[in-house]
Symmetry: C2
Subunit: 149 residues, 2 copies
DNA sequence: GAATACAGTTAAGCTCGCTTAACTAAAAAG
DNA sequence: CTTTTTAGTTAAGCGAGCTTAACTGTATTC
């Protein structure tokens, strides 16, 4: 890095404001849907990582299998999740987001997205382009990083 | 905007991955400190917005004054917060992050920051510069936006 | 094929966040 | 000076998440 200190400061400043903003946003959104944060987090997780079994849920959230089972059960009953038998292992369950669940997450993302879009709209066209390029760089970097693991 | 669709897609893609990542990170961190998410959120809020009264806490988190009082009380007892009398209004309390509280938040931010820093480190020097510039643009835009309100 | 490990569920019980209701004390309004 | 708001606390009680413990059914292992 050429200017480690400057870059660090930039990163910190941005993350500080952005994380605060998005966390509060999600909190409010979850509340407005009537779901608890743990429930909501499970939907987010499934949206992000795709279908998985019960055991993954308990691992990822560092909760007991019992807790995962109970949380998932509520989400299934509320129609946000579908719990099917895994054909390859009849002990396991295959959890997938239902259409309703997917829409919920999309809606939440949309609201968060809108804030940032409004933010970007205050920039000049060329600055927007810069931002866009930078985000593409970062998003690609994330993908590469996750592939390596 | 020159390319609204493209820009939107970029924004969405980035936010999707970043929000997911940072939310999970904070969740784990909060858990590791022994604090609940609501408690942790209050510390975040104070870190971000500075000292405030009880009423602001209950408003911002959309909880009753009683709930705010109880949550704050725990944080005070744990040494993360200081609750003093407001000299200008003896009914009111002035809540401030303690040194310990500030360090906690810094530590959490640091971990989140580190991930993104590692991410940026995979980029070429010139790409890093692009990212840095873009984030400065965004951070400044946020400041302007908040000032206007 | 019997023993063991694994995936998930169910039940009991705890803690925690939250609410309402009743209360104290100070400020503002009349 | 009295009345009414405002800021916050305390107590009782409810619901949610989580844990441990006991259990069912299915794979694996030897």
């Amino acid at each position: 890095m050429t200017k480690p200190t400057q870059f660090s400061k930039t990163l910190r400043a941005w993350m500080d404001v952005f994380m605060h903003r998005s966390m509060r946003g999600w909190g409010h959104f979850a509340k407005s849907t009537g779901l608890s944060m743990p429930q909501f987090s499970i939907l987010m997780q499934l949206h992000h990582k795709g279908p998985c079994g019960m055991s993954e849920v308990s691992e990822r959230f560092d909760i007991s299998a019992a807790a995962a089972s109970q949380l998932v059960d509520k989400l299934v009953q509320a129609g946000y999740l579908e719990r099917a038998e895994d054909p390859t292992d009849r002990r396991a369950r295959l959890l997938t987001l239902s259409v309703k669940g997917g829409e919920l997450i999309s809606q939440g993302t949309e609201e968060r997205y809108r804030w940032m879009n409004d933010l970007a709209a205050t920039l000049s066209v060329e600055d927007q382009k810069k931002v866009s390029e930078a985000l593409i760089l970062l998003t690609n970097a994330v993908q590469k990083m996750e592939e390596k693991k």
